[in-house]
């Protein structure tokens, strides 16, 4: 057995974790190798002392000191949960709003656009279609109004009706 393997077995022997046959193998090597015997002694002393360590007492009132910290933790946790879900909800809400707005724009009909007289003429419609029923009533005042507007659209605005 080489010293490298022997050192591995020495480490295991400290824990009493040698597999069957390994102990005999190690003992045989130790009889022949003074360096490994020395190593074994060092290992046993170093790790033996570590295992015998006496720990100091922990500070008193451990649970009493811990309790208020846990209480704070609970309130902080609930705030964190709100924050977490709030942050997740924000983009979703925004997306839903955009979808809703798009649907409204697509499906709700927009108000009919008022056409200019030129556009009406282009569509081959009578621009006075709205005033026709009034004119058809044949009232004198309506005719006067009609004349006024006609004159305003004419070449000079001097043609005015004076009753």
């Amino acid at each position: 057995m080489k010293c490298k393997k022997a050192e591995k077995l020495i480490s295991r022997s400290v824990d009493r974790a040698l597999k069957p046959g390994e102990e005999e193998e190690l003992l045989k090597h130790l009889k022949e190798c003074p360096l490994c015997r020395q190593k074994k002694e060092e290992y046993e002393n170093i790790f033996g002392i570590l295992g015998e360590q006496v720990f100091p007492e922990s500070k008193p009132y451990f649970w009493t000191r811990l309790k208020p910290k846990l209480k704070r933790e609970v309130s902080y946790e609930s705030w964190l949960a709100w924050k977490k879900w709030g942050l997740r909800a924000a983009p979703v809400s925004l997306l839903l709003l955009i979808i809703f707005a798009s649907l409204v724009m697509i499906f709700v009909p927009s108000e009919q656009k008022e056409l200019s007289s030129a556009e009406i003429l282009l569509q081959n419609q009578n621009p006075f279609v709205e005033s026709l029923p009034l004119l058809e009533e044949g009232r004198i005042e309506n005719e006067n109004i009609h004349l006024i507007f006609t004159s305003m659209n004419g070449e000079n605005g001097a043609r005015r009706y004076f009753p």
Binding site: I49, L50, F55, F62
Partner: protein
């Protein structure tokens, strides 16, 4: 009361049940933290942090592993986080401030304590994973299988990592090894 039932009660928000668990494990957590830091104040703070983290994570604990194993995992992560945050501070500074001359003068009743201080100071010089495995095995006395569960590694890896850690410790302690031989 059976531990599983206590854990289940604590998961439902029973603070007294959690208190029982704290009482049951507070020393183990304190000793683990003390083994890693060698400072009573720091170890106490760390033990408190471990239980706060455990309380926070308790609803997610599925009882698949033992509560103690789960708690040790939290403890190891808490201690690792602590060292990461404190990486600016030299780890050895957490240890005993006795001078080198005093430590190598092993006479009288305090011989064992001084040797222990020397070993622990040198453990502090090792990489984190080696410090953890030495603390769990040689200070806490955990079995290979328990360590494997806590660190989520195979028992074979525990064996080889422990060997490397011990070998490294022996190497860093080379100037003082004569003190650990029978004739010393």
């Amino acid at each position: 009361m059976e531990e599983e039932k206590i854990v289940q009660s604590a998961q439902k928000g029973d603070k007294d049940a959690f208190g029982i668990l704290v009482e049951r494990y507070r020393n183990k957590m304190f000793y683990l933290a003390y083994g890693m830091t060698n400072n009573r104040e720091t170890a106490d703070d760390l033990a408190q942090d471990i239980f706060i983290k455990a309380y926070r994570a308790l609803p997610r604990f599925n009882l698949e592993s033992k509560f103690s194993t789960w708690l040790y995992r939290i403890a190891i992560n808490t201690i690792k986080d602590f060292f990461r945050k404190e990486s600016g501070i030299e780890k050895v500074s957490l240890h005993d401030h006795t001078g080198i001359e005093d430590r190598v003068n092993f006479n009288g009743e305090n011989e064992k304590q001084r040797k222990l201080g020397l070993i622990k100071e040198n453990i502090g010089k090792l990489p984190e994973k080696h410090r953890i495995i030495l603390t769990l095995r040689d200070i806490q006395g955990k079995s290979y299988s328990e360590i494997a569960e806590i660190l989520n590694i195979s028992p074979g890896t525990v064996d080889s990592r422990l060997f490397r850690a011990r070998k490294k410790l022996r190497k860093v302690m080379a100037p003082y090894l004569s003190l650990f031989r029978r004739e010393s």
